[in-house]
């Protein structure tokens, strides 16, 4: 699988990652290599194989609908890079 620069740009945007021109080339190259290696999987016929999402057959794990203490707001906000009026402050959303 050949990953081109345009694909790198698209993926980087989806992942909200800024990449410069040089990194685009590097990523295109490295991702192509790794995906080439992944092509190996196509040697296997998996048409009748179920995918594994969980290795253990656990099901129906629930929590009781009982209220427990929330965090103190001060603690909830203690790591915030920016805050105001008890809320997390973020830069303007519409550019």
């Amino acid at each position: 699988m050949k990953i081109d620069k345009e694909t790198v740009e698209k993926v980087a945007h989806l992942a909200r990652l800024e990449v410069n021109e040089e990194e685009k080339d590097t990523f295109a190259h490295q991702l192509s290599d790794i995906l080439d290696h992944a092509e190996k999987l196509n040697e296997l016929d998996t048409d009748d194989v179920e995918p594994t999402a969980h290795v253990l057959p656990i099901k129906n794990v629930f929590r009781e609908d009982k209220v427990e203490d929330s965090l103190d707001r001060e603690l909830a906000l203690s790591n915030a890079p920016d805050k105001d009026k008890g809320m997390f402050k973020v830069p303007k959303i519409v550019e």
Partner: protein, 482 residues
């Protein structure tokens, strides 16, 4: 209005579930509250935290599915829907992609001015709500926003309709029916003003008879029936204009500008979303067996359609009135409360459809905020039947009950509204009225018998409405003829 074209509407209704706690953590599930006071490491998405599913939320979606005639999936799972936004702490929403809890349902609706019809429900799935952004003024020119995560993790069900809806009236009837049913089964309060029910509305038009749907536009997070109705009149016309001028409909999200009464394309350089759904590795599948479904089935109360039918067939209430009363569970419960104390159900429904609804609308309150009890209304109706108050006075009594919550007995007593049925007292009053209206008496005597109505009115006026009208009539006739 769209001659040559037909509109198709798809509705995705989001309803917040009324559980005590959030869907994946034990924080209180409550509207409002000081910002960020109902949060914990889990709903804030702090590194290392994991979700654990609230069993009640599953009970509730099964209940909703059964009430909306869906198939309940025996095997269901959660998936991650990945996208970045400031109100989404994990940068993914835990939702359901290919294996939702409920599929293939339907509801019956009675759109205003149209035939009764069935609307199909494609699926209902369970997911978590996001937080809330606050900005000074409009989001498009706010320099920064403040995020409150209290709402994050509120359990939501999303109900997706089949493309069966083709008019604004059908859309509104469908929305109201879904709201009514969810309220009946007690899984959501569906309060649109608080955002606990909101809808994404997809609109497309296609030439009449075409078997293909047109390109659709989407209005997200609509939270008023009026706005939805207006948008459903506006948007298809706009699309028609575009098509007829040779243009193409651009698929995408639009916003409804209620003030301008227009839809507007969103200003955004976002490419089409690519949510990269994949199975949520932190949650295990849910297997729902027959026993579980049977247990929930037992908890489902009589639903509005059945109740309406019963009112018509057993209580003799007109179908329309029964429809209005049963649409709101609290209204119907109130009605039944009155009827249990007073057996003329028809008279009860007349009062509820009349002055009661009028006052509720005028005061803009819901039935739960009404100050008097069903038994008070029953008492008032009995006072009328017993001739203690006239129907005219009853109106006054009712308004006073509505305003103060006092019992009808107290109101009649305090205000001295008791009907005058004492014949000697009434005879004195009538004599006085006849004296003061000699010309009317003359008219009567010269053959204009209709003037008696005027004289009754004058007598009622003299007693400030308290006179027993039947008796007044009788005494007047006796005196005039005598």
């Amino acid at each position: 209005m769209l001659d040559g074209y037909e509109m198709t509407v798809g509705l995705e209704i989001h309803a917040q579930l009324d559980t005590n706690t959030k869907i994946f953590c034990s924080c209180k599930n409550e509207f409002g509250g000081e910002p960020n006071t109902h949060t914990c490491p889990i709903c804030l998405g702090l590194p290392g935290t994991l979700p654990v599913l609230n069993e009640k939320a599953v009970d509730y979606i099964i209940k909703a599915g059964l009430a909306l005639n869906c198939e309940i999936a025996t095997f269901s799972k959660f998936d991650r829907k990945n996208y970045f936004y400031a109100d989404l702490p994990k940068a993914y929403q835990i939702s359901q992609f290919d294996l939702p809890f409920c599929e293939d349902g339907e509801v019956k609706i009675n759109p205003e001015g149209e035939e009764e019809m069935i609307v199909g429900i494609t699926r209902i799935h369970l997911e978590e709500d996001a937080g809330k952004l606050n900005h000074d003024g409009d989001i498009s020119n706010a320099n920064s926003s403040l995020v409150d995560y209290n709402r994050v993790g509120t359990p939501l069900i999303e109900i997706v309709s089949e493309p069966d809806i083709h008019s604004p009236a059908q859309a509104i009837a469908y929305l109201k029916k879904i709201r009514s049913i969810l309220e009946y089964i007690g899984v959501s309060d569906c309060d649109m003003s608080q955002g606990s029910m909101r809808a994404d509305v997809n609109i497309s038009i296609a030439p009449v008879g075409s078997d293909k749907l047109g390109t659709r536009t989407e209005l997200k997070n609509m939270n008023s029936f009026k706005a939805i109705e207006k948008a459903l009149y506006y948007e298809p016309k706009r699309q028609k204009k575009v098509l007829e001028s040779g243009g193409e409909i651009v698929q995408g999200t639009m916003t409804w500008d209620d003030e301008a009464g227009k839809t507007r394309a969103m200003r955004s350089k976002e490419e089409a979303h690519d949510y990269r759904y994949f199975p949520e590795p932190d949650l295990v599948p849910v297997v729902v067996d027959d026993q579980w479904v049977a247990k929930i089935k037992e908890e489902i109360p009589e639903l509005p359609d059945t109740r309406q039918k019963r009112y018509v067939e057993e209580l003799g209430i007109p179908e329309y009135d029964a429809g209005v009363i049963t649409a709101d569970r609290q209204m119907a419960d109130f009605f039944e409360g009155v009827v249990s104390d007073y057996d003329n159900a028809k008279a009860v429904s007349n009062w509820m459809m009349g002055d009661f609804l009028r006052l509720l609308n005028e005061e803009d309150i819901t039935i739960s905020e009404v100050k008097f009890e069903p038994k008070d209304l029953a008492q008032m109706l009995k006072l009328m039947d017993d001739g203690i108050i006239s129907s005219k006075i009853a109106k006054t009594v009712f308004e006073e009950m509505f305003a103060t919550g006092k019992t009808p007995d107290t109101i009649v007593e305090e205000k001295g509204l008791k009907q005058i049925s004492d014949s000697s007292e009434l005879e004195n009053i009538v004599s006085k009225v006849l004296e003061e209206n000699q010309s009317a008496v003359d008219d009567y005597n010269s053959g204009n018998k209709n003037v008696i109505g005027f004289l009754v009115g004058q007598t009622m006026k003299a007693t400030r409405g308290k006179a027993n009208p039947g008796m007044v009539n009788k005494i007047l006739r006796e005196k005039l003829e005598g």
